[in-house]
Structures are given as structure tokens and as C-alpha cells.
């Protein structure tokens, strides 16, 4: 165990990858001299040089495309997109190129690209930099979507993502960067399955990324009321780990999804659809979800707080599932 932060864990993962594999390089806006907008890559340029930690022009379309080209050329690029909203400028590269080339080339080409993005709200960055669009991107076949919520996943997901022969998008919830704690270096991190982060028997809280901590806090409060909540950390948003979800829900018979995305057409909607498809006859309550309000994310602190999934709303929804 060692004391660290989510930000440092991500940096350490990149440092290890850069040191371990000469094909790995990092590029993005201000990742070099400035050390990254969220200081994740701070110091790496001094250590690995400008060839391997590259500042790019302000064009997501161009540098995500360049990353795809480098991956096709045999490199293992890590592309940082500052916040998820900017990936919209590169959506054609992500969706139409990275996700499709294996298919379009009849399997001759693969795109071993890793794109890191900051996602989520909670830091008063207002409507244009506070989206949770990972659910959108998880709609796209050909991409693998990861959402590290713990120090261990922040530290451990990058390397298997780089080893994956296909494009992997890694979503870092911005409010997590400053989270500190003890990193368990013995935990083996894979990128295939969800994990039960807290065992329980009365209902299953399904969360990921920035909502995991809230779900765990809600579970703690619920325990004080005699409600035993299991908490699942999805970790992998595409492909979803149905088995872990269904095993839990069939046991607890109640499911509550906590998703920072907007409700309509959300990842939460997909998860609930799957629960109803696969575990309907085991349910003892209608599946429920706590999502963000369907508004552009407000700037004002109290309004932003009100728009996002918060612990009291999770607790209240959980009580509702038990008829309390």
C-alpha cells in the first residue's frame, strides 16, 4: 500500500507505459510543457522528452486522427482529449475511423489506440465542459469504454488498454483527480469485468466512475437504516458485464442505477433494459435510476449540485425500492 492520488496514479501508469514500451507516446493539448490541463502528465516531458510527450495544435480532429494513423503504423499512442465535449470535434475519427477500420479492412488493420478524456461535472465548469458523454460513446461497436473509479483502476487500466489491439477510451471523472488514498499495488486490474465493491443483500446499486463513491456513501447510510445495499462498479461500460449485474440483481431482486449521464437514452437506460430482459422474473421492485437532470449543466454551485446525482437522492430512491 502506498499513499497516492487518482491523478498521480494515472501519471504513474503513463510513466510505466512510456518506460516499458518504446512504441508508447502521449500527445494532446498542453500535455507537455504545461503538464496537462489537469496536471496528469506533469513532469513527463522532462523525463521522456518532446518526442514522446507531444503538445499538439488545438484540433481534436487532427490529433485524434494522427493518433489513429500512428496506431495503424505500429505505435501505441495515448491521446489525451482535454474534456469529453472536445471529443465531439473528433467524433468522426473515433466513430467512423478508429471503431470501423478493423471491420472495413476485413481484419487486416487494427487500431491499438488509447484515448484518455476527462468527463463529468461537479467543478463549476458550466454547460460546455461538464458532460458525461461516455454513455454515448459506449453506443459505438468497435470501441471499448473504460471508467476507472478507484486508485487501483486509475493505476492499472492503462497498460491492458494499450495491450488491447482495438481502440480503448478511458474516461476520468474530473472530480476524482484530487481523491487521495492508499493504493493497493497487489490488486490485479483487468479490463473485462465489473466488480462488486460492497456486498449487500437488499438491493444492488450500479455505478461507475464519479458516481461510485456516491453509491458507496449511500450504501453506508442505508446500512444505518438496516438496508443492505450491494454496490457494483461497472468499470467497463462497453462491453457491459451482464453476468455480474444479473448475478447480483437476481440475488437482491432490486436494482438502482446511478449514472451521471442525462436520463433519456442513457447508459442507465441500457442497463435497466438488460435487467428487465434477463432478470424480470426475479425482480421484486421496478428497476430505478438516479441520473442527471436533463438540463445543460448549471454553473452556479447550488444548481450544479441539484442537477447531479447526489447521495440523498440515491438513498431516497433505494428506500423507494423497498417501499420505505
Amino acid at each position: 500500500m502506498s499513499r497516492t492520488s487518482y491523478r498521480e496514479a494515472l501519471r504513474e501508469a503513463m510513466r510505466e507505459a512510456l518506460a516499458r514500451d518504446p512504441r508508447v507516446f502521449l500527445m494532446g493539448e498542453d500535455v507537455g510543457r504545461y503538464g496537462g490541463t489537469f496536471a496528469v502528465s506533469k513532469g513527463l516531458v522532462d523525463e521522456f522528452g518532446e518526442q514522446r510527450v507531444r503538445d499538439t495544435p488545438l484540433s481534436e480532429l487532427a490529433f485524434v486522427g494522427a493518433g489513429i494513423g500512428a496506431a495503424l503504423g505500429g505505435m501505441r499512442p495515448i491521446v489525451e482529449v482535454m474534456t469529453v465535449n472536445f471529443c465531439l470535434l473528433a467524433l468522426d475519427q473515433l466513430m467512423n475511423t478508429a471503431a470501423t477500420l478493423r471491420h472495413m479492412s476485413g481484419g487486416q488493420f487494427s487500431v491499438p489506440l488509447v484515448v484518455r478524456m476527462t468527463t463529468g461535472a461537479g467543478r463549476q465548469l458550466a454547460a460546455q465542459h461538464s458532460h458525461s458523454l461516455e454513455g454515448w460513446l459506449a453506443h459505438i461497436p468497435g470501441l471499448k469504454i473504460l471508467a476507472p473509479a478507484t486508485l487501483e483502476d486509475a493505476r492499472g487500466m492503462l497498460w491492458p488498454a494499450l495491450e488491447d489491439p482495438d481502440p480503448v477510451l478511458l474516461f476520468e471523472q474530473g472530480a476524482l483527480y484530487n481523491v487521495e488514498g492508499e493504493l493497493d499495488e497487489t490488486e490485479v486490474v483487468g479490463i473485462r469485468s465489473a466488480r462488486v465493491r460492497r456486498a449487500g443483500s437488499d438491493l444492488t446499486l450500479i455505478a461507475y466512475g464519479g458516481t461510485l463513491a456516491k453509491a458507496l456513501e449511500a450504501a453506508e447510510q442505508l446500512a444505518g437504516e438496516g438496508i443492505s445495499a450491494e454496490v457494483i462498479d461497472l468499470r467497463v461500460l462497453r462491453p457491459l458485464d451482464d453476468a455480474t449485474i444479473m448475478e447480483s440483481v437476481r440475488r437482491t431482486r432490486r436494482a438502482l442505477v446511478v449514472d451521471e449521464g442525462w436520463r433519456s437514452g442513457s447508459l442507465a437506460a441500457e442497463i435497466i433494459a438488460r435487467i428487465v430482459e434477463q432478470a424480470f422474473f426475479d425482480l421484486d421492485a421496478p428497476p430505478a435510476r438516479v441520473c442527471s437532470a436533463e438540463v445543460p449543466t448549471p454553473y452556479a454551485k447550488h444548481l450544479e449540485d441539484a442537477a447531479l446525482p447526489q447521495v440523498p437522492a440515491i438513498v431516497a430512491a433505494a428506500r423507494g425500492l423497498l417501499g420505505r
Binding site: 431482486r253 422474473f281 426475479d282 425482480l283 421484486d284 421492485a285 441520473c291 423507494g320 417501499g323
Partner: protein, 391 residues
């Protein structure tokens, strides 16, 4: 369209409580198939259906108590179609009101208000209730939106069954009432006459001893089976004692189905029918009798066994009485009583000897038969018991 009605499972039954359907709309049903379980005052009885067809609609739910004769389901005759079948309103039953509680919606979910008439039952609660034979719609829900949950169903199943056979105490009181009603009716309406006859049993016992000698205990015959067979064969010759007095006229029984009086351990008695006794070999009768007594004592009889006896036989010899003069079980017209089989002084060829005998009695309805006829019947029973080989 066939109406399937709450059957009468004996003269002492005026209403039945449905415990469980064993069929669902759309199921094909066949003659003799058990379609439901009904709780009468005496027992939880499996109800058989006597028509061929397909279940169209179930008109009552588990927990409903309806009078005998009330339609409880509709069946489509083979080849019938639902389009031509008029739906009928469910009978008024003593069903517990099941008003959904005021919904307690989860904060984020606002589904449109469901029709207030339908009780919300979660899928797993519905499934569990079906397994337990509980009508979940009658329960009060404590779950989200007032839904009946798994816990609600299991609470009912474990604590205070709403739709379960009555408790032993309730059942005992109800059975006492039922017996009182039937016996009072019998003594009020039926002009009984009584005959008795001492029947030598030595030949029959000797035959039994020889028959049983080679057999393991579980396959051995008891004297009671010989008696039943002899009575049944004699009834074949005396059909006026085998049947019912209904609406001022005698109606012959559809077969020779002997009601076997079974004393229940908790008190009370029940006399389910052993079917077609005259035509069955003794080992089969022995097996069926054992099964019948066991099921009677565990309250799990079938409707045909409760309603179709054509004459009742009561054997009280085990209790040590010499003879029994019984009260006829309406609408039957006769009852045969058998006392203890024991060695008694017997005069034969001018000499007194010891001989195993039993006193047989006949209580018969004078409206349906006369003493001379009854006497000849008892003589026939006696004659048959002297030829155990032919039983």
C-alpha cells in the same frame, strides 16, 4: 361453453373455499383431471373435472368462498372458440378487498398512474405466490408503489395464511358442525330401520391366515377388506340399497362405491369413497384402502372420493364394540355396521362350540327399501363371507 361449478362434496357441505387452481386459462382439461383444491369443512379436497375441454376463464380466485353450485370456471368444449364465448361476471365472493395503497413513487420515477383496480405484484412475488397457492392480489403490498413484494407473500405464507387450509382447531369445530348438520338431517328426514345378523367369520379368517402366511407384512390383507368386498358383491344383487334418495325418489348409484368411515386422530370422522369395490381384486382394494385412509387423515382427498359413496360401511370392531347401528349419511339410503370379530359361543349340530363371529347390522332408509329386502341383503353378505375364495 361449460360452466364448472363448485361441487357438492357431501350432504354436509354448503360452501367451499378455493385454495388453489391447478389449471390456467387455455389449459386443456380431461375427464378425471384434478383442476383445483377446495377447502371444505372437512378437508382440503382435490377437485376433479368431468368434462373434456379447455379452460376459458377462472371465475374465482384462491381464497374465495362460494356456495355449492356457483360457477367457478368456464370451459370451452373441445372445438369451441373463445370468440363465441360470452364473458360472464365473476360471482360475488367473500374475497378480501385488495385496494392498492397510495403509491410511494421513487423520487426519480414517475410512471403514469396505473389503473387503480389492478393490484401491483412484483414478478418474483407473483411467482412465489403461485408456488405457495396464495392469491397475491388479496395481499396488502408494502413495496414500491404499494406493490405486493416477495416479503409480503412470504410473510403471509409463514405467519397467518390468508388462503390456507383452516387450522386444526378451526377445522375440528367446522367438522363438528358439518357432522351435526348431516346427522340431524338424517335423523330428521330418513325413516331408519335396523337389522342385525351374527356372521360366522371363522372360514374367512382361516382363509386370510393361509393367504397372508406367504406374504410380507405390507402385502397382507386385513379382514376389513374381505368385509368391504362381500358387502359390495352383495349390493350387486340388492341395488335398492346402493344409491341415493333425492327429491322424493330413489336413484341408483352409478357404481358400487363404498364410503369407508375413517375416524380422524384429531376427532371427527370422514367417509370417503372406495370406488368400484365389487370389481376390484382384494390386493388392489387393500392398497387403495390404505392410501385412502392415509389421505383422509392428512386431509387430502379428491372430490370424487368425498361425494360419490353409494353406501357407507362403518367397522368399529377395533374399538371392541359388539355391534354398531349407524346413522345413514344422506343422501345415501343405507349403512352397514360391523362390530368386533371375536370368538363367541355358537351352536352347531346341537352342540355349543367357540366360533369367531361378528355382528353385522344394516341401517336402511325405509323410503327406499323394506326390512325383508334388507334382511335378504344381510344374508347375502353372510353367505359371501363363507366363500372367501370367491371374494
Amino acid at each position: 361453453m361449460i360452466e364448472f361449478r363448485m361441487p357438492s362434496l357431501g350432504a354436509d357441505m354448503d360452501a367451499g373455499t378455493l385454495l388453489q387452481w391447478q389449471v390456467a386459462p387455455g389449459d386443456a382439461v380431461h375427464r378425471g383431471q384434478v383442476v383445483a383444491v377446495v377447502d371444505t369443512a372437512k378437508a382440503a379436497v382435490e377437485i376433479e373435472c368431468w368434462q373434456e375441454g379447455r379452460v376459458f376463464e377462472l371465475l374465482i380466485q384462491p381464497g374465495d368462498k362460494v356456495p355449492v353450485g356457483t360457477p367457478i370456471a368456464t370451459l370451452l368444449e373441445a372445438g369451441g372458440s373463445a370468440e363465441t364465448a360470452p364473458r360472464r361476471p365473476a360471482p360475488v365472493a367473500a374475497r378480501k378487498a385488495a385496494q392498492p395503497q397510495t403509491p410511494n413513487p421513487p423520487p426519480a420515477a414517475t410512471p403514469g398512474a396505473a389503473p387503480a383496480t389492478r393490484t401491483r405484484i412484483t414478478p418474483v412475488a407473483r411467482q412465489r405466490a403461485a408456488e405457495l397457492g396464495i392469491d397475491a392480489a388479496t395481499l396488502t403490498g408494502t413495496g414500491p408503489q404499494g406493490a405486493v413484494t416477495l416479503a409480503d407473500v412470504e410473510a403471509v405464507a409463514t405467519q397467518k395464511p390468508a388462503v390456507q387450509p383452516a387450522t386444526a382447531q378451526d377445522r375440528h369445530a367446522a367438522m363438528r358442525q358439518a357432522i351435526a348438520a348431516a346427522m340431524s338431517r338424517s335423523k330428521r328426514e330418513i325413516p331408519h330401520y335396523y337389522l342385525s345378523e351374527t356372521v360366522p367369520m371363522a372360514v374367512a379368517l382361516a382363509w386370510l391366515a393361509a393367504y397372508n402366511a406367504e406374504l410380507p407384512p405390507e402385502r397382507r390383507l386385513l379382514p376389513g377388506v374381505l368385509v368391504l368386498k362381500a358387502v359390495a358383491l352383495a349390493l350387486g344383487d340388492y341395488p335398492q340399497l346402493n344409491g341415493y334418495w333425492i327429491d322424493g325418489a330413489f336413484r341408483p348409484g352409478p357404481g358400487i362405491h363404498l364410503g369407508v368411515a375413517v375416524a380422524l386422530r384429531q376427532g371427527g370422522l370422514i367417509a370417503p369413497a372406495l370406488h368400484d369395490v365389487a370389481s376390484k381384486p382384494l390386493p388392489q382394494l387393500m392398497e387403495e384402502l390404505g392410501d385412502l385412509v392415509q389421505r383422509a387423515r392428512s386431509y387430502s382427498l379428491r372430490s370424487s372420493e368425498l361425494s360419490e359413496a353409494t353406501l357407507t360401511v362403518t367397522q368399529l370392531g377395533d374399538q371392541g364394540v359388539d355391534g354398531v347401528f349407524g346413522v345413514i349419511y344422506p343422501p345415501q339410503v343405507a349403512l352397514v355396521g360391523v362390530g368386533r370379530i371375536a370368538e363367541r359361543p355358537w351352536v352347531e349340530d346341537g352342540r355349543v362350540c367357540a366360533l369367531a363371529c361378528a355382528q353385522f347390522s344394516l341401517a336402511a332408509d325405509h323410503r327406499a327399501s323394506d326390512g325383508h329386502y334388507g334382511a335378504s341383503f344381510l344374508a347375502e353378505v353372510r353367505r359371501r363371507l363363507q366363500q372367501p375364495d370367491s371374494l
